[in-house]
């Protein structure tokens, strides 16, 4: 499944903010980390701010901070602010049986995608990120072996 660039950027940003809810994260820091222009990111953050997911903090040390509920907000909530995932049900009004059959199969994929994204909250996603981090960081034993070598 491929998400549009703005959607991916929104997910990256929200996870950065939700992962450090007490910190005011400068937009430039996220733009730099994900290799996008601050102007492009500002448009995405404006959508998230309008939805109440983030809020901007002005002044020295300003930036954005997370304003949502990480245990309630799902990946689907964020995705749907930027793109449509397709109809929940196949379009029954199609003329051709080939189109209707194809709609049935594509509808199955859409339904599974919606169920997956709708069942993963930001809190769950942050735990998944943590697991990925610990899986990629060296264990103390392997770190010791590396230092000894």
């Amino acid at each position: 499944m491929k998400l549009q660039k703005n959607t991916s950027l929104a997910l990256f940003s929200v996870l950065e903010f939700a992962g450090a809810p007490l910190r005011h994260v400068p937009a430039a820091e996220i733009a730099d980390k994900y290799g996008v222009s601050p102007h492009h990111l500002a448009k995405v953050l404006a959508v998230l701010a309008r939805a109440g997911v983030v809020e901007s903090v002005r002044g020295v040390g300003g930036g954005y901070r997370f304003a949502g509920n990480a245990r309630r907000l799902t990946l689907l909530d964020i995705v749907e602010m930027f793109e449509e995932l397709g109809p929940m049900e196949p379009v029954a009004s199609r003329e051709s049986p080939v189109e209707r059959a194809l709609d049935t199969v594509l509808g199955e994929i859409d339904a599974n995608a919606r169920a997956t994204l709708g069942s993963i909250t930001l809190a769950t996603m942050l735990r998944l990120v943590e697991r990925q981090q610990s899986a990629s960081s060296p264990t103390p034993a392997s770190a010791r072996r590396r230092r000894a070598a």
């Binding site: 339904a111 169920a115 069942s119 909250t121 809190a123 769950t124």
Partner: protein, 173 residues
């Protein structure tokens, strides 16, 4: 560990009471059937007394390590349950633990009781020799789906399929 009483903090929404409460996960007893049936009826809207009695006979009686029916007791009151079994070579898959029912009284949710039930049944399945836990549920059941996701469950290698079975044709005379 399953079977050991532990203190649990109350859910954030119920912090006013502040006092730690005692949660105990243990094997089901016949007297627990009434609260189990009541919780299921509240959650599903259908009371299935005969069904639950059958489940109790199959999973609650005896000491078969491969069949587990556990309840969560909070301050002496049954507030949740989990049921599952070890299945061998189902769909060509090595033995794994299947959870086919888990629920917590809606009034007692958000306090970590579901997590404790899942930990308890996982520990018992682990003791029975399996290292994989599976479940299956409706994709529009977002509450329970989100719960399993929050516990670290991801999509597995099995895909559920179904079809309508057409009525049998009338025999020719």
């Amino acid at each position: 560990m399953a079977g050991q009483p532990v203190s649990v903090a109350r859910a954030p929404r119920a912090v006013s009471a502040q006092a730690a409460r005692v949660l105990h996960v243990r094997k089901v007893r016949r007297a627990d059937l009434a609260p189990v049936i009541a919780i299921d009826a509240v959650v599903t809207g259908v009371e299935k007394r005969a069904y639950w009695q059958g489940v109790y006979r199959r999973y609650g009686v005896g000491r078969i390590a491969e069949r587990q029916f556990l309840v969560a007791e909070l301050d002496g009151r049954v507030v949740g349950f989990v049921i599952g079994e070890v299945r061998d070579w189902e769909f060509g898959s090595p033995a794994c633990g299947w959870v086919f029912a888990i629920d917590v009284d809606p009034a007692a949710r958000l306090g970590g009781i579901g997590s404790r039930l899942l930990e308890a049944i996982s520990a018992r399945f682990r003791a029975a020799g399996v290292t994989k836990l599976r479940t299956m549920l409706a994709r529009d059941n977002t509450v329970i789906l989100s719960f399993f996701r929050s516990q670290g469950m991801m999509a597995g290698p099995l895909v559920s399929l179904e079809m309508d079975i057409a009525p049998a044709a009338e025999p020719r005379r």
